[in-house]
Every structure is written in C-alpha cells, then in structure tokens.
Amino acid sequence: MSDTISSFPNIVDAGDCGMMVLFGDQLSDAINNAAHAFDQALQQQGWRGVEELIPSIRGVLVRFDPVRLSRHQLRSNIEDLLAQRDWLTAPANPERKLWRLPAHYGEESGPDIESVAATMNLSVEEVVRQHSSTRTRVLMLGFTPGCAYLGSLPKIWDLPRLDYVKAEVPPGSLSVAVSQTVLFAISAPTGWQTIARTPFLSFSRNEAPYFHLSPGDEIVFEPIDNKEFETLYWESCQGKRIVAPEDAE
C-alpha cells in the first residue's frame, strides 16, 4: 500500500493475480470489522475468476485468474461493491461464533505472565481477570496453520515484543504483544510473551473442517487450573471437541 494514499477504502494492485482492498492503516476494530464484512460480501458475489479471498487485519486480498477475469473488470466490480455502503459501520457477520475457550494462566503454560504483570504494573490475578474477560475477535489467521490473531485488547495491553525469539512454544499457547493475543495452533517460534495455554486445538489435520476458528469469530477465555488443563488437553489430542461454539449474536 502506498502511504501517500490517505483515503480509505482503497484498491491496490498486488502482483499479476492479486488485488488488495484496504480499509485503513492501523489496528482498529472498525477497520477489521469492515475487512471481514467486505470479505463476506465478496464471498457472496461468487465472481467468475476470483480464486481466493484472504481477509487480514485491515483489508482483503483478492486472488484472481487474470485470464478469466480482467484486472479492469475486477477493479470495477470491487468499486461498485465498495460504494454500496459504509463498510466501517457494517454489521458483523451474523454467523460468527463465540468461543469460550478454557485457558490455564501462568505456571508452565504461561511462563511470561509475571513479567507481563510487572510491565503493566498489575497483579497477576488482575492480568488474568482482564485478559480472560475481554471479549476479543479473530482479527486474522496467519503465520502458521490455524494461528489466530485476537484483538484488540485495551490500550494497557500494548506490550512490546521480546527482544529475542523463543524457539518454540507448544500448541495452544496464548502470547501477547501490541494489544493482541496470538493463539498458536501448532508449536511455533515467537517473540511475544506467553501468558497462558488453552487445551483447545484450533487445527485438526486429519478431519474436515480442518480449521475451527474463522476470521471474525469472538473469543473469551475461562481460567482453569493445571489439572483441568491436562485432562482437557488429553481429550483434545484424542480428537474430542472440548468446546462447542455458540452464536455470537
């Protein structure tokens, strides 16, 4: 995106098979909501030649086959759709889910929770209370399969990244920085601070649907102790769905 373009939404070419629709240049719930609403609207259009829609924190990448759909035609279609409403005030997808995910805070599940509490000048209990009770949404999935960026958390959670990268955190780890939580679906390296771990596995490789969380879904965490974590994690690993999503509306 060109930073010289200050008006949003805008449409920018991204390679010969990509077109990016951007609703803003910052982390904001309204911008993210616009991106998801527009993604939904694009899905409903079913334009011939559109191959993949990839919603992100602030927009949607439209991957298309330029042989079947000209760039000119696609841009014009997108412009028409953009003009249909103010996407920043679009209602959230009525089919989005609410997931109440159990989470074990601190101890070996969240080794950085004390340093996070110290940075925020809060008690560990207050960190747990705030983090678990804030309803966040899946801003985007990325980095590794099923890895969800959840946000946004209140300003006080605008925490710095670590100055080193941990080689690996286990699946289900909840790591925080820049007013977001990352929920890791598979083990991965991270430079964010890990405060908890959920026994919920958001990615199952052997059985469709492979990915359980969708962009726009909402999340709250329910603190559990280590023993409950062990039990639920074992059940998850056996393929049991330990959390049933609710309708978010």
């Binding site: 995106m1 060109s2 930073d3 010289t4 920018v12 070419d13 991204a14 390679g15 010969d16 098979c17 990509g18 990016m20 240049d25 910052q26 982390l27 993604d39 191959e51 993949e52 829609l53 990839i54 919603p55 992100s56 924190i57 602030r58 927009g59 990448l61 991957r63 330029p66 042989v67 760039r71 985007m140 999935l141 990325g142 980095f143 590794t144 399969p145 099923g146 890895c147 969800a148 960026y149 679906a185 598979i186 990615f203 490789r205 052997n206 492979y210 990915f211 969708s214 962009p215």
Partner: protein, 345 residues
C-alpha cells in the same frame, strides 16, 4: 501391480510434492506445492499420471532409490541432475522403467542448469493426503511423510499406474532453466520505498544466496555491500508467492511456495507468476537481474505459461528404443540443448 521405492540414501532436502493446497491462506496455511510446477506437469505428462499425483522434489542433490516389487515407469524432470541406473547414465525428461532391485542414483545438478529436480513414478507416490494434498508443507508439518524431509531408509508406496503401457517417451527441455532475468511488477507497497531504492532494484544485479529454502530465497546485491533500504514493518498483510520483501536488516528475499500467509515486512515488487518456476530454479550464486514489465506483458506471459503446460502431452515424443537399452545415452544429446538465456548480462 505392487511396487515400492526405497530410499537408500537421501540428499539434504528431498520432499514429496504436488500442486499444493490452494484455498487455505485465510486459515493461515499457504498453498505450498512443488517449487517448479512446470516440472510436475512434465512428469505427469510423461507417465500419464493424474494432476494430483505426487512426486519427489530434489533440492540440489538426489540420492539412491531402489525399485522394489513389480517393474514400474519413472521419469526425471526439472533441473537435470547426474543420474544412473546400475551405473548406466539415464536421461532427463524421458520415461524409463525400473525393475525390482534396480538402483536409480541421482547426483548433483548438471551444468548449473537449476536447483530443483523431480523424480516421478507412474501412478504417483502414495501417502495419506492431509488437507486435500499429499504434498509436504515443511513449515506447517503437513503432508508427505509426517510433514518432513524424506530420510534414508524410507519405503514409499506407489499408487497403481493409470496405464499399464510402458511407453518410453521424452519431452524437449523448457527454456526457463538457466535464465538470468526475472520479470517483475511493482506491487501494493512499492511506493513506500524511495525512488532511489526502486531504481537500485532495477539496475543492480543480484545472486541467490545460500540462504534459500521452500519459504524464501535471500538475494545478494552485486552492486554494493550496502544493505537495501529497510522500512519499519507495517501491519501484517497477506503475502503472495514471488513477492520481493526487504527484511529489517535490508536483505531482499523472494518469497516462495511455503511463505507465511501474512507478514509485516514491506514488499518492494512481485516476480510475475510466469517466472516463479524460473526464480525457484535459479542456481545458488547465479547472477541475474530484474526486469520491470507491464501488467499486460505479465498476463500474456502467464497465458503462454499455462498454454505451454496444457500442450505438454502434444510435445511427447515416443522413443523407439528404451533408454535402458541405449549405450552411452548422454551421447544422444537428450539433456543438452537447453535454450540458455545465461549469456552476458
């Protein structure tokens, strides 16, 4: 038919690959698939395989592969590599058969003509598909054998061949191997970079650094040791194959098949889709340049590329004698004659 392929010894980066898993970027999984999809299509054409057949991708150096069970057809495509069966040289882009116990020995790339070679078997390598594909996504740990690089000692099953015909046929070499230019378009973030940096990208020569894998290929600028302009990372946006990103230390890299689905490093330009295989096949150390083309040229090149894949079966040349029976096969000039673009830059 009951045939297997045993890996007796393995080069550093063998993996089972196919056309990948499109459609899951929104869930954090990039498409993956073979670095050179043209080479996969060639293998399928040579052996009459279905499009979804899986092959072995060989980065730089192959290994030894023993045929087990019923005789089966194989073919080698992509970067030509030194290859022999029981000591007899075997040609590239020509199907031939392997009998029980025969050992196919694949060495290093010949004449610096590429990086990725492919070993195909009639019917395709058979592993349990994961998320709709047998291909290995190493970064995600999905597909192939436990999502990993293939190791010596592995016994691979071979799916039943589409045809029991053992026709020996060959294909002419493609012209993208050995190129020294990659065509690019400016992308969504190009204008974040200064005009001078964009000029540098167009005028400097680059080489592919040894820091390369299926996720990205780092580039070494040849004009100066000065790092490239590095911008602050922005919010993560979706990443696409072929984008040229500049990391925080000013190192340019071409993003490849197993890219992160999203990323915050600014991307200065995109290699056109028609040149992705050429980019992947650039040998480490090869000096090349970027060439800015128009959008129309990029799409025309893509149409040409797709047509050349669609027309592969029409290019098949039956060979009257089996390569297994021909002495001194390399003398038949089967793998030479690649139309090389690596004249002076």
């Amino acid at each position: 038919m009951n045939s297997q392929l045993e890996i007796i010894s393995a080069g550093p980066a063998l993996s089972i690959q196919d056309f990948g898993r499109p459609g899951f970027c929104r869930f954090g999984l990039s498409k993956g698939g073979a670095m050179d999809l043209y080479a996969i299509a060639e293998g399928n054409a040579l052996l009459g395989n279905v499009d979804t057949a899986a092959s072995i991708e060989i980065a730089s150096f192959g290994g030894k592969f023993r045929a087990v069970g019923d005789e089966f057809m194989v073919a080698l495509t992509g970067a030509p590599m030194r290859s022999t069966v029981d000591g007899e040289a075997m040609p590239w882009r020509t199907s031939f058969s392997l009998k029980n116990g025969q050992v196919l020995d694949i060495g290093s790339v010949l004449d610096d003509k590429g990086t990725y070679g492919y070993l195909h078997v009639a019917g395709g390598i058979e592993v349990e598909p994961e998320i709709g594909s047998m291909g290995t996504h190493l970064r995600a740990g999905i597909g192939g054998i436990q999502g990993k690089i293939l190791e010596a000692g592995t016994l691979l099953n071979i799916a039943p061949a589409n045809t029991d015909k053992t026709v020996v046929q060959n294909l002419p070499p493609p012209n993208y191997l050995g190129t020294n230019r990659l065509r690019i378009l400016w992308g969504a973030q190009s204008e974040r970079f200064s005009a001078a940096t964009r000029e540098r990208l167009l005028h400097a020569s680059f080489s592919i650094s040894h820091r390369r894998d299926r996720m990205a290929m780092q580039l070494t600028p040849q004009d100066s040791d000065e790092p490239f302009e590095s911008l602050l990372s922005g919010l993560s946006d979706p990443v696409q194959d072929g984008e040229i990103q500049i990391t925080g230390d000013g190192v340019p890299a071409i993003v490849a098949r197993e890219h992160q689905p999203t990323g915050g490093y600014p991307r200065i330009a995109s290699v056109i889709s028609a040149d992705l295989a050429a980019a992947a096949q650039l040998p480490t150390g090869r000096v090349f340049k970027f060439e800015l083309v128009s959008y129309t040229e990029a799409v025309d090149a893509l149409i040409q590329w797709q047509n050349s894949i669609d027309q592969l079966t029409g290019l098949l040349q039956p060979m009257i004698r089996s390569p297994n029976d021909i002495d001194n096969l390399l003398g038949y000039n089967l793998i030479d004659g690649v139309i090389s673009a690596c004249d002076d830059i």
